[in-house]
């Protein structure tokens, strides 16, 4: 995949790209307002980060403790090394209970494991019950955002989709009306489901319980009607103590949507009376992330989505351009960790503005990690030949003073005299979305010599060339 190519598709529709940008910035602004209502915000972030780092450094013990406690409460704990095993375990449990219909609340992990198509292939009807998730499910697309899965869609499109699938009135676009249609439809699904599946926001080692946060109440309805509850969690969801939840619940909703807390923060400790609770703990590449000192910190992520909402690239390129379950800045760290060859372009979909790092509630140094990724990808030869070749070329030119001067002269002349089509064509990646500035007649070196060259003491040879090499390197190397 190539982020730039996919993003170009999105950007082509200018008004829509602008609309997307504004919608997300609105959420970012709400986050700021919520954050400023708490004087202790920075203390909370630091505490959260320290708790997560500590957990990561004792992860094996905490996982064992969690398993012990959860089992004591009557839950059954399963372990899955990868997506395939996770899907198999879920299917086995569903089959043992003769489940035909499953309702799910939003879970990025099952999305990552492609659970839905897998279960559907095995004859199980799966309904995503979070409204945004249901919308994209009907549209047969993946979510474009981890908190607001349908943020890329207009109400007209949703209206059309509902008309087609849920028999809503033709041409209806009123969110109130459409949400009511979805409510009726999904209530029906809740009533007939044989099992409910949820993700996990936080799992508590000390108690063996876990917390699921939603605004719609879909997780709760989904698992309080049928007898079977399956909860799927990545190994990084753990926190040591119940009281740590105080820190994380204060950070999560404020960072995600600017709310003081989600409408429902449900604490599940053991199965309900006469029911069954199965917890599936999934690795799927996470333990490998632990190995790397540089990227380990990304395991602190609590999936609030704040880094996406603030990212100037995400806002203007849409979540689908990342082709990853978790898009945006944090997704651009996680995806290449799994498959560097395929996702090599994501760390380049970053302006290094640092806004993501500023908002991250668990203080992940996101933009530093993205920069580190670029080096890693280059060192391990994951860049496409065009990039490698042009970097090589640039490095030769920049190291050779006479060649640099010559190229400069030629370039300035060409920019002034070549016809437009020769300058702005497929080969000039820089000219694609921007006008190049008018090329000056004389180079910096010439100007420098004219102004200072003659006045410097005889015998000292000024080194403007050397300086300008240093200068231009920083801008050229961004290629």
């Amino acid at each position: 995949m190539n982020h730039a190519t996919l993003a170009a598709e999105f950007v082509r529709n200018r008004p829509r790209a602008h609309w997307h940008d504004t919608a997300l910035w609105f959420v970012r602004a709400k986050r700021d307002k919520a954050v400023h209502s708490l004087p202790e915000w920075e203390t909370l972030r630091e505490t959260a980060s320290a708790i997560k780092l500590h957990t990561i450094s004792h992860l094996a013990e905490y996982l064992e403790q969690f398993e012990r406690q959860a089992t004591a409460l009557g839950a059954t704990v399963h372990w899955a090394c990868d997506a395939a095993e996770h899907n198999q375990i879920v299917l086995d449990i569903l089959r043992q209970h003769g489940v035909k219909k499953l309702v799910k609340s939003k879970s990025m992990l099952t999305e990552e494991c492609h659970l839905n198509p897998y279960l559907e292939r095995h004859g199980i009807e799966v309904t995503d019950t979070d409204l945004g998730e249901r919308i994209v499910q009907l549209d047969r697309k993946p979510p474009s955002h981890i908190v607001m899965p349908a943020i890329h869609m207009k109400k007209e499109e949703i209206g059309e989709l509902f008309h087609k699938h849920l028999q809503s009135a033709a041409g209806a676009t009123d969110p109130q009306y459409l949400a009511e249609v979805a409510r009726q439809h999904l209530r029906h699904k809740f009533m007939e489901a044989d099992a409910g599946l949820t993700g996990v926001n936080f799992a508590v080692a000390e108690t063996g319980g876990f917390v699921v946060c939603t605004n719609e109440g879909n997780a709760d309805l989904g698992v309080s009607l049928p007898k079977l509850h399956i909860a799927c969690m990545g190994i990084e969801k753990l926190i040591p103590r119940a009281k740590d939840l105080g820190v994380f619940l204060r950070l999560l909703a404020r960072s995600a949507t600017g709310q003081p807390i989600t409408a429902y923060s449900s604490h599940f400790h053991g199965p309900r009376l006469g029911g069954e609770l199965h917890i599936v703990i999934v690795d799927n590449g996470r333990s490998q992330l632990l190995a790397s000192g540089e990227f380990r910190g990304s395991l602190k992520c609590i999936r609030c989505g704040a880094c996406m909402n603030t990212c100037p690239v995400y806002r203007r390129s849409g979540g689908h351009s990342y082709e990853n379950t978790v898009p945006g800045p944090i997704g651009s760290i996680l995806a290449p960790a799994r498959d560097p060859q395929h996702y090599y372009s994501l760390p380049y979909a970053c302006s290094l503005c640092g806004s993501c790092t500023d908002v991250c509630p668990v203080k992940i140094d996101i933009h530093h990690q993205l920069l580190t990724w670029r080096r890693e990808l280059a060192v391990h030869g994951h860049l496409p030949w065009t990039k490698r070749f042009s970097m090589k070329l640039a490095s030769i030119v920049l190291r050779t003073t006479w060649l640099y001067g010559l190229m400069g002269n030629m370039g300035r002349w060409a920019l002034r005299n070549f016809p437009r089509w020769l300058v702005y064509n497929r080969l000039n990646a820089w000219g694609r979305q921007r006008e190049l500035p008018p090329a000056p007649r004389r180079s910096f070196r010439q100007l420098y010599q004219e102004h200072y060259g003659r006045t410097t003491t005889a015998g000292t040879s000024p080194q403007p060339g050397g300086n300008s090499v240093g200068d231009s390197q920083s801008s050229t190397s961004r290629h």
Partner: protein, 205 residues
């Protein structure tokens, strides 16, 4: 220890744990949570302010009798056909929960009056459990929900909240803050997604 599982999944457990062990970074300290967290001069007032902002209704009453008559003024309650109240003296129950063992049967309930254990001023969340309520679906499936909250049971922030909570048995508990809502259609806020269409908090005392 965990229940016996198929051998291949037990193997995965060992595999994951040993992969983690071999990569685990050097240990860091677990921070204490001691800090001067935010407090409010008037906790009920702060609670009321946040609750209203997140779409809930706030009714402050001196006692249960006053709550009962205030409830009678709420249109959703007046129109409700099936009502469950689990709070003494507030609301007229006409559904007998003792005969219901399948939560699906709760679907037609229009209005429920239930008690909240305590509230959190910072975010207007109310802690509820299924300790005395075998069918926890009730909190989520009813069309309209009222929670009764003693005025003296409002803490400042979430840290104080967790100091009160003990999780030493199989039990369900939740913080409920406002009615069910969604903003998944073009970020327009719609109250009443799957759960209750309204939440009224009767703050008594």
């Amino acid at each position: 220890m965990a229940e016996p599982q198929p051998p291949e999944h037990r193997r995965s457990r060992e595999e994951i744990l040993s992969a983690i062990r071999s990569h685990q970074p050097p240990g860091t300290e677990l921070p204490t949570l001691e800090h001067q967290w935010i407090t409010y001069v008037d906790r009920p007032a702060q609670f009321a302010k946040v609750l209203t902002e997140i779409g809930g209704q706030w009714v402050r009453v001196p006692d249960a009798a006053a709550a009962h008559s205030a409830l009678g003024e709420i249109p959703a309650y007046r129109e409700a056909k099936q009502i469950i109240s689990r709070v003494l003296g507030i609301g007229n129950s006409n559904v007998d929960l003792t005969n219901i063992s399948d939560p699906h049967a709760l679907e037609p309930i229009d209005f429920a009056v239930l008690s909240g254990e305590f509230g959190v001023a910072e975010n207007a969340a109310i802690w509820v459990t299924d300790r005395n309520l075998p069918l926890r679906a009730l909190y989520f499936i009813v069309q309209h929900l009222a929670l009764v909250l003693p005025a003296g049971e409002i803490v400042d922030n979430m840290h104080q909240a967790y100091e009160r909570l003990k999780f030493n048995r199989a039990e369900f508990g939740a913080f409920i803050a406002g009615p069910s809502k969604t903003a998944d259609i073009e970020q327009s806020l719609v109250i009443g997604a799957h759960g209750s269409r309204s939440l009224t908090v009767f703050c008594v005392g």
